[in-house]
Symmetry: C2
Subunit: 362 residues, 2 copies
Amino acid sequence: MKSKSELIKFEEGISLESGDNLSSFELMIETYGDLNDSKTNAVLICHAFSGNHHVAGKNPKGEIGWWDEIVGPNKAIDTNKYFVVCCNNLGGCSGSSGPSSINPTTGKIYGKDFPIVSVKDWVNSQNMLTERLGIPRWLFVVGGSLGGMQALEWSIAYPEKILKAGIFAAAAKSSTQNIAMNEVGRESIRKDPNFNNGDYIELGVKPKNGLKTARMLGHITYLSEENMDLRFGRKFQDSDSKVDGKVDFEVENYLQYKGEKFTENFDANSYILMTKAMDGYDASKNFKNLDEALSSVSSELLIVGFDSDWLYPPERGKEIQLAAMNNNIRSSYITLDGRQGHDSFLFASEKYEEIIQDFVGS
Amino acid sequence: MKSKSELIKFEEGISLESGDNLSSFELMIETYGDLNDSKTNAVLICHAFSGNHHVAGKNPKGEIGWWDEIVGPNKAIDTNKYFVVCCNNLGGCSGSSGPSSINPTTGKIYGKDFPIVSVKDWVNSQNMLTERLGIPRWLFVVGGSLGGMQALEWSIAYPEKILKAGIFAAAAKSSTQNIAMNEVGRESIRKDPNFNNGDYIELGVKPKNGLKTARMLGHITYLSEENMDLRFGRKFQDSDSKVDGKVDFEVENYLQYKGEKFTENFDANSYILMTKAMDGYDASKNFKNLDEALSSVSSELLIVGFDSDWLYPPERGKEIQLAAMNNNIRSSYITLDGRQGHDSFLFASEKYEEIIQDFVGS
């Protein structure tokens, strides 16, 4: 598979929804396949909360992309046919401008001074990327979870620039419980003594403990209760492979391991920023309701929910579908079996692949 | 209402399920009403995770008891009729021996050296209390949540000493997800730099930040998603009443406030101990299955689940009911409407009160 990573600089800067602005910024992107001569085969993939631009294949570090089961040669999103683009979102920590980058105005790391970024800002910055890449219109903008929110926002904000949108395991807004869970994670980070109000990198420390706790909680929301029960049940962790002496059950060990691992590569300020963007998203914020928000949409929508997802359960997808129907938008909603809870959107299944393939290719 | 608090000392000590033992221990109890001459009107109330012996009425500090809606003169558990007893559980932090007490052997605060205590140990210590009070048999042993686990264990362990058991919003064992949630809370406490591996009191500090985060998460599990949505929705917190400048939404402010408040009175080691007891409970642990575990039960059971409870949902109560039926135990199960999620067991409603009253009084 032909793939390419590139850091793209936007000297023109960007005005953000909060009123703040970045005088310049960079987006780290990865592309797969080739743009055809008529420029009609471009697919934009929007990543979820802890994802990045590395969607498919192996990168030089040997890491497999986060959606490798779906994206690649002859896969549901076929890189032999489509020119696939993904960028690390603004505010992230995988190469794009974010809290751990150097602030070009001061020459110092942004830290707590990186502005608040919203889903709308991401879509606006991705639109700037679209222009830079010379893509007149995306054949398909797609994402799961927070990525699905971006796909929805794309179809609302730039209807003329998107032909089809894929909104998977997502919602038109975060629920009260979603916000509550994220606030617990943020609290845990903020109260880590290494956090230093967000300016920790310059001090040579990282709020790893707080970030670990936040991620452990995150994992509970990504998995379904049933899946957890099947995988771990009430099995005791054998003492040889305990990551921590305080652990009794396998599920505790799993969370400890996953939480710890996450802190090796993720930035705590980005964690706070991304969860704030997620909590803050409400497609109908500047409209009377979701029906009105979708009134400008001209793209075709594919909305997928997963039965075991309790973070953004099928009902959230159906709300979008209902608003689409009220606007006579060409739209399909389907609930798929997914053993992995919210994470189901990441994994290939025959039905899921077929639905995506048919929708993009039709 | 006649009520009395008393600290009862057990010089004989207790052997614990873990193999450890306490050479002596104390239980702080509160009683309401009078034991009748035939000693047939005694009711034992077992408290939930963060409860204590103060069940009903106002204590000298002006605090209303945690089950005041249900227990009192002419209430569902009528203190004019019954002699009601509740003790702060062993390992707690409201007067009974626990991690924040003085270890009589060393003269120092127990801290991390307080042994692990189980639901079975609580029931055994309550049985010692039963003997001390000269009560031959409880008319009714009842509790919600972790308290319901104790009521269930009473009916298994001391069938001849209990006539009726009330098991509300409880389960015969914690689920994988229950354990996972508790582990996040414990992790947050352990990684608070003030925790000092559990020996913080002697250093004059408290792991308040970790305990606060743990409690914030706890609150999410006690409330239902629907209840949170109705109460807070996506409403923004007005800036005058923000408890923390980082807060955007009302629900965040609520969790911050509740979490902070909890740390004023609760002990972090007790938090860990209580959640470990909850996670560790499995009524069928020493049996082939739950049916066999209940084979010794001779008391009548009242099992109540609440429809909005997602911590110990109705299905968990029905499992107990099924095992009871398989053993021909006189048992009733009912799912009640409860807007408060798991916390519903704390609040009076006409149906709930009537069911309890009829069951105890019959």
